[in-house]
Symmetry: C2
Subunit: 138 residues, 2 copies
Amino acid sequence: MQDGTFFSPGHPEETTPRGNVFARDCPTRKLLDRIGDTWSVLILRLLGDGPQRFSVLKRAVDGISQKMLSQTLRSLERDGLVTRHAEPTVPVSVTYTLTPLGRELLDALGFLIDWAETRMATVGANQRRYDARRLEEI
Amino acid sequence: MQDGTFFSPGHPEETTPRGNVFARDCPTRKLLDRIGDTWSVLILRLLGDGPQRFSVLKRAVDGISQKMLSQTLRSLERDGLVTRHAEPTVPVSVTYTLTPLGRELLDALGFLIDWAETRMATVGANQRRYDARRLEEI
């Protein structure tokens, strides 16, 4: 990842078939926007433990609204990261499952979640130091 | 990452000193929001190649405004992910450098960028299939 082979600003065509996240019109950037979305990250993480019902996801992701959960799941389904299965019961029971592509993304996201969870205290200390320095300057 | 040790919804205190991204009030979630931001990702990736001047970053990140670049860099600096060095020339020349903590985050992000750039075509095909199916249903 550090070799810079895909960094070719202004010349995304040189790196085809790889995307170029630096180019405004490259769909990779939109994809990155979507997968960097915190709700998506949390839902993928939960589905990593196995198929889940909508109601279980709703409870587990603290603070998400019904509408936002529906939208996020639909977007993940559209990208082919999760599948939706509706059981014809009354009321209908809907289950979401991670696809192999979604599992792959979750593995990549895992490093990021891990970093955020273990480095949180360090980042917090950095912020307090920064804010104190800014106050001194005023 | 797949062992679920940090998934403890509603009981973030049980996982201390690790954060819990599922808890609404855990700073880890805010941190994840920020590092998942596409502008941050792109800037960290650019700084991975070495220190860069503001003007170079501005050109390389296609579509970013001056204001958004300033804000994003300030936020990265506050988190301790980049350092800012101002050379007292006229006009002042400002250079940004990745810190070791920022390098660590970039390594974690690398898997995600890599996934997005190599799986973009698959995701695009999935979206077209999904949209075609939705049209059939109408």
